[in-house]
């Protein structure tokens, strides 16, 4: 085994075997899965969690007889016109009704001042349901009063949906889905930003650990400093990839197992489920548009292989570039406190890239976007934002070549700083001294 692979193996195994690695690896997907499942779980159970409510309706206008529809959770019980509001309120305290909806007599020109009495907090869903229903009925009445047939009004409602089509000389016209591209770009850029920081700062900590433990000189009497540095950088890259792959696999597994156990039977059942309800709503909203076809178009419009390849390349080389920088910082300083000054300076480009991200996804092809996705220190994040929208191949190629060349140059320089720095103990070096190290 070569020294490089011995070092790589140690760097990899000691980190993967750490308790904190295991905890983060398994806790992360649980959190992700929980994040994905909880909303649907809450929606599913919200009706069940709210106890059935019966609401007494005292309608003095006599417009609403049966017009406010019952829902799963709420039953509206219409009272005789002669009932007294106060006696109905008493029934609420006695627990016979949960609430009283009082609609005082009014004329069409005066706004309806309905009141909803309850001795407990009224759920938002209930009050908005009532508002919606009341509004519909009143509008209907007003239309009729003006001599307009409500059916005519309904028929004039327009359903607008602008399809954006990007023209491309090579592949012809293509429908684009900005929203989905926006999300993919944003998520992937964020993952790169986060992972590059997380794992390259681990490289720095590893180097500092070797310095503070004073083992560094023992090791470099056996191997070249460059071998040690690269072994560490690549070893931690593998730790990072392991973690990301495990996260994805576990999140998907947990999501499916959990949704199968918790949500499963209800999703299968044909009625009263969130899924079917949502789909019904979408179908209703899109008014006859073929939802499935739309979804297929959407998926087909995204160039998955391009996105995947750029993600991998930008992640790997972005990480390598920053890992080399952080390794050099680790070599310069004796403890993590001293490293802050240097690591802040080094992190600025990445932070600029992420700060510009919202502007960039709104308009990916501005000169700002193009520059940021070319400059090697920002390109891993910035280019990732643009790739889902479709970027000319030559731009990606130039950006990647620049990134790789910079990575090689920085690694070479970092190796020089590292080589000298690891044997310096005690004081934090000045920039002038670091400049001198480069020339040794």
């Amino acid at each position: 085994m070569s020294n490089f692979s011995i070092i790589l193996k140690r760097e990899y195994l000691t980190r993967v075997k750490k308790r904190s690695f295991l905890i983060i690896t398994f806790l992360g997907p649980l959190l992700f899965a929980a994040l994905m499942i909880t909303p649907s779980l809450l929606m599913l159970n919200s009706d069940k969690m709210e106890s059935k409510k019966s609401i007494a309706v005292l309608d003095e206008t006599n417009w609403f007889d049966g017009a406010i529809e019952n829902t799963d959770a709420n039953t509206f019980i219409y009272q005789d016109m002669n009932e007294n509001v106060d006696s109905l309120k008493k029934l609420v305290f006695e627990g016979i009704y949960d609430a009283v909806l009082y609609i005082p007599a009014t004329t069409l020109n005066v706004p309806v001042n309905a009141k909803l009495y309850s001795n407990k907090q009224i759920p938002m869903t209930l009050s908005s349901h009532i508002e919606r229903e009341v509004k519909q009925v009143v509008e209907h009445k007003k239309l009729l009063a003006s001599g307009i047939d409500p059916a005519v009004v309904k028929a004039t409602k327009a359903n607008i949906n602008i399809a954006t089509i990007r023209m491309d000389e090579e592949s012809g016209e293509k429908t684009s889905y900005a929203e989905i591209e926006y999300i993919i770009g944003f998520v992937l850029a964020f993952v790169i930003y986060f992972a590059v920081f997380l794992f390259s700062s681990q490289v720095m900590r590893g180097v500092i650990e070797e310095k503070t433990n004073r083992i560094i000189e023992v090791i470099i009497s056996s191997v070249k400093p460059f071998e040690l540095m690269m072994g560490k950088i690549v070893g931690i890259a593998l730790v990072g990839l392991t973690q990301i792959v495990l996260w994805i696999v576990l999140t998907v597994a947990i999501y499916f197992v959990a949704s199968g156990v918790i949500l499963g039977p209800e999703i299968m059942s044909p009625s009263g489920t969130v899924m079917t309800e949502q789909i019904e709503q979408i179908t209703e909203m899109s008014k006859g548009q073929d939802v499935m076809l739309e979804a297929v178009n959407m998926v087909q419009s995204i160039n998955f292989s391009a996105i995947l390849w750029s993600f991998l390349l930008y992640f790997v080389f972005g990480y390598l570039l920053y890992a080399a920088l952080f390794a050099a910082i680790g070599g310069m300083v004796d403890n993590e406190t001293d490293s802050n000054q240097f690591s802040t300076i080094v992190s600025i480009p990445l932070i600029i890239a992420i700060v510009c991200a919202p502007t960039m996804v709104n308009n990916p092809d501005t000169s700002l976007g193009i520059w940021l996705s070319m400059i090697p220190f920002t390109s891993p994040v910035s280019m990732m934002l643009r790739v889902p929208f479709g970027v000319p191949y030559w731009q990606v190629a130039v950006s990647l070549v620049l990134l790789i060349l910079t990575f090689i140059l920085i690694t070479w320089l970092a190796g020089k700083i590292y080589r000298t720095g690891i044997l310096m103990y005690g004081k934090k070096p000045s920039f002038k001294e670091i400049w001198k190290w480069l020339k040794y």
Partner: protein, 311 residues
């Protein structure tokens, strides 16, 4: 003469700072060589060159007849001044890792380590983390990983600093044993008294310059000032004490005398060069019983200070 290491006219400059200036050394095979000098003299730079951590600007280094190269790394065992181990790694795992980096296979490393651990009676530490061990225990591990690959050349930078007296003795014993088995050993230290008894040859170095080189015996002979210490027991102590100066033979001069509580008299006598000290002993043996006699040789520390001041 068979030299294991030959360093020829080596110089090294860091910026404006001349760390080593035209240094040449010959280290005979299977000997113990001491690099002595104050902090900042250039000892560590020289040692790092042997370990190929840094390269000389000028000059050559010959290792066992060949020009020093990467292949020699696995034949060198190095205990740096700044030394340590991974705190959170298990002892056995870590020792195997370090041995592997020196080119020992995992299996062989484990076998040899078990033998060493057995020898030191520390087999039960194998699965402990380094941070669980005391400082003295860590030092033992550190020594074992330095020699685990059976190096032909052993380099110890400030070997005894930070070691407790028990481990220092253990270390000395083991180092002599390794020398007897064929290893060549280089010590580097500013604490000259700690190694002079072990070294066959030494070099005194100061500010990157060689001050003095040679065998310990020869250097001491060269720098001795012909002083002797004699202890006498006599019934007529008081009387002798008073007249001791007068009764010394020609060519001997009393430097000091003192009587201890047990009535023993200690004399420090200096002598003219080339005079036979037996004359003094014969003379004094008539005055009482001679308990001890020894030639006072200067310590390396004295020689160093003497030499540096005279430059």
């Amino acid at each position: 003469m068979d030299n294991f290491i030959e360093i020829n006219n080596v110089s090294k400059t860091y910026g404006d700072y001349k760390a080593l200036n035209n240094i040449s050394i010959k280290v005979p095979r299977q000997s113990i060589y001491g690099l002595l000098g104050p902090n900042g003299a250039g000892k560590t730079t020289l040692i790092r060159m042997l370990n190929q951590i840094t390269a000389p600007d000028e000059g050559t280094i010959i290792f066992n007849g060949e020009k020093l190269n990467r292949n020699h790394i696995s034949q060198i065992g190095y205990l740096p001044e700044e030394r340590g181990l991974y705190k959170s790694m298990k002892v056995g795992e870590q020792a195997i890792y370090l041995a592997q980096l020196k080119g020992v296979s995992q299996k062989e490393a484990e076998k040899r380590l078990k033998a060493w651990f057995n020898k030191f009676g520390i087999l039960n530490w194998w699965d402990k983390k380094v941070e669980e061990l005391s400082k003295g225990m860590q030092q033992k591990i550190q020594f074992i990983v330095t020699v685990i690959h059976n190096p032909q050349l052993l380099i110890f930078d400030e070997p005894f600093s930070g070691f407790d007296p028990i481990n220092v003795n253990l270390l000395k014993k083991e180092i002599l044993e390794l020398r007897d088995k064929g290893a060549t050993i280089i010590f580097s230290t500013h604490n000259m008294s700690s190694v002079e008894e072990l070294c066959d040859n030494i070099m005194l170095i100061n500010k990157g310059q060689k001050v003095l080189e040679g065998s310990v015996y020869q250097i001491k002979q060269d720098f001795k000032d012909n002083k002797f210490e004699i202890k006498l027991r006599t019934s007529a102590t008081q009387q002798l004490s008073n007249s001791a100066t007068q009764v010394l033979p020609k060519g001997f001069y009393l430097e000091s005398e003192k009587t201890d509580n047990n009535g023993e008299l200690e004399l420090i006598v200096s002598a003219d060069k080339d005079i036979n000290p037996n004359i003094l002993i014969n003379h004094l043996s008539e005055q009482g019983t001679i308990i001890s006699y020894r030639e006072l040789l200067p310590s390396m520390n004295d020689i160093f200070i003497n030499k540096v001041n005279s430059l």
